[in-house]
Amino acid sequence: MFSPALEALVDALRCLPGVGPKSAQRMALHLLERDREGAQVLALALGEAAERVGRCQRCRNLTEAPVCAICEDPRREAAVLCVVETPADVLAIEQAGGYRGRYFVLMGHLSPIDGIGPEDIGLDRLQTLVQEQGVEEVILATNPTAEGEATAWYLTDLLAADGVRMSRIAHGVPLGGELEYVDGNTLMHAFSGRLPVSR
């Protein structure tokens, strides 16, 4: 129906999450009909990023430098390390603000059924990092799913001998939420993790 080049573009766009044949076609036509310049910019940016972006040697986050900007920043506390599952989690925490330590990005979680073991998520690297870079506290910010919890537990066990302080982020009722709308599992977590209040 389309010319080969257009066909190839539509096919290529379908690799994006949530993009089916129809949306891919719409995107391709938009780029070619109305926004040639945007198409050039996109092509250049894509090529550049796919070519140059790799992993930070320290924290495994995505970066085109050998060591990412957060790890290079001297104002960030090197003694506090936050372990997260994905680069998107780093962005979420950074946008929330308030955290001044560094990160370690696992790029996944332990998931035996998917065949993902400790070395697939760089846990040996993490252990070396903790031992060699004077990390004093590790904040386990993996997701509150069974696999995220299992990863946190495995890490707790792995780093126990290294004498670092380990903490797990709290799970509970979201701000502005209503108890009635919170599921039972979360409520149970919120109760077992309750904090003393004082005047």
């Binding site: 332990l110 035996p112 059924i113 073991g117 537990w153 039972g184 599992n185």
Partner: protein, 241 residues
Amino acid sequence: MQASLQPAYLLHRRPYRESSQLLELFTAEHGRVGVVARGLRRRSRGGSPGALLQPFSPLLVGLVGRGELKTLAGVESGGGLAPLRGDALLSGLYVNELLVRLLHRDDPQPAVFASYATVLGALADAAPVEPALRRFEGELLEALGYAFALDHDALAGTPVEATRRYIFEPGVGLRAQRPGAAGTSFAGEDLLRAAAGDFTGSAGRAAKGILRSALRELLGERPLRSRQLFLRRRERSREGS
């Protein structure tokens, strides 16, 4: 179409398309089923379905569709169970991996379902992990048609004697070890204790060895990943001591 709710557990889930998930459910009526769950990020009274759908917690699910992949029409909590922690959590992942590897889809397994509920209950209660796992492994093998008796010499057809040593042959069962023969063997005394449900000490180790080689036969070449989590931890604790 309203689907009636049936008891189920979530074995595994992975993202599918934009906001959907591909679930691996273990249901009481249909055994292991593959299910698509759409729009799990919505919020509703009593909690979002996404938060309810966690492994190891009893669920009530409604399923629609005839093909291999069903669609999730509804999910409710099937009663609270304390979340698994620590070693119990790793054991839970092991049990789930066993079920995903050994159960066929759409093959009802009511006995395994009951055993699964029991082992999860024991793990949630922080009961000793190993005996609960041994019991589950034995019941799973039995339900899959690979039952063998720990107190019976399958070759001679006689009861196991406490003073003799026995070897285990997958597919056959236990048989008395010939005097002077090499290979892994188990003391009759341990086997009798394990058969009586006592999995402490050497009886537990014997049962573990036997169940493991029976399961290995069914699992084939590809090893269980969750077991590797335990192996590596054990190596470390040995290095440390």
